[in-house]
């Protein structure tokens, strides 16, 4: 009988080079789902999210909520939801709570999440992201769905340190780490 072990998407994250220009930590055990509003149900969905989570559903590319549960705007009528409070079967209950208002798809094992910070972070991200991430153009709470080295990413700014969270398809996690190591090696990548 084969023993199966749960291996997280960024299990191979490791420190590279000297220094702590970029500090990276994998966010593990997070429930992740995409939520897509059903036709004509946008207002009812926003009301349900307000009632169930006390969260104002963002209409644009912004995040709303807390560390425990966040709704991130990723497109018109589309959100990425992350839940960090360990509620068992969170996505199943989310789908039930939003039944008839939105399509909910579990991404918990399909998407890897990294938390990135450090003094060189913006310079390193600039090597891959063709979006203005300066503090004035991209304040905390902003969300961008874009690509890094042809890999689709969803990134959002958590605070002005700056700290970013970044979501990458699990199938791309190895290639993404390769890009991160190559881009941050010069200033040092510290894995925590």
């Amino acid at each position: 009988m084969l023993d199966l072990a749960h291996i997280s998407a960024f299990a191979e994250l490791r420190s590279i080079g000297d220094g702590r220009g970029v500090i990276a930590r994998e966010r593990r055990g997070i429930a992740i789902a995409t939520v897509m509003a059903r036709k004509g149900q946008g207002a009812a969905l926003a009301a349900a999210v307000k009632e169930q989570f006390d969260i104002n559903l963002p209409r644009g590319p912004h995040g709303s909520g807390s560390d425990a549960t966040s709704f991130l705007g990723t497109g018109p009528g589309r959100w990425l939801v992350t839940h960090d409070a360990g509620t068992p079967r969170f996505v199943v209950s989310l789908a039930q709570q939003l039944d008839g208002l939105a399509s909910v798809v579990d991404q918990s094992d399909g998407v890897g999440l990294l938390r990135l910070t450090g003094p060189a972070l913006l310079d390193v991200l600039a090597k891959g992201v063709a979006v203005d991430l300066s503090a004035a153009a991209f304040p905390a709470g902003s969300v961008a769905v874009t690509q890094i080295a042809h890999m689709g990413v969803t990134l959002w700014k958590v605070d002005e340190a700056p700290t970013f969270h970044i979501a990458v398809a699990r199938s791309m996690a190895g290639s993404f780490l390769h890009w991160l190591e190559a881009s941050a090696g010069m200033t040092g990548l510290a894995a925590e």
């Binding site: 644009g60 590319p61 497109g75 018109p76 589309r78 063709a130 203005d132 769905v145 690509q147 689709g152």
Partner: protein, 86 residues
């Protein structure tokens, strides 16, 4: 060339795929003569033109972009979904 996505903001054209002439209306399928013209006989306009672009690497929305195809100046971009609804 950068396209001002109404949802995402200004993004490089490499995030989008071009999806055709936005000035045409798809004819009824039984009208084979009109369908032939719609599918195969394309104009090649100069100057300001309206085109569909799909934000494939971003918000996945379809945009209607007004663009000067001679200078690549992008004049306007709206969500095709919004325009269809109005």
């Amino acid at each position: 060339m950068r396209i001002p996505c109404p949802y995402c903001g200004s993004r490089d054209a490499s995030e989008f795929s071009y999806s055709g002439d936005a000035t045409l209306t798809r004819p009824a399928p039984e009208n084979t003569e009109a369908m032939f013209h719609y599918v195969y006989l394309r104009d090649n306009p100069v100057g300001v033109h309206r085109e569909y672009w799909y934000h494939a690497a971003g918000c996945h929305a379809w945009l209607k972009v007004t663009r000067n195809v001679s200078t690549h100046e992008v004049i306007d971009a709206v969500l095709a979904h919004d325009e269809a609804a109005s």
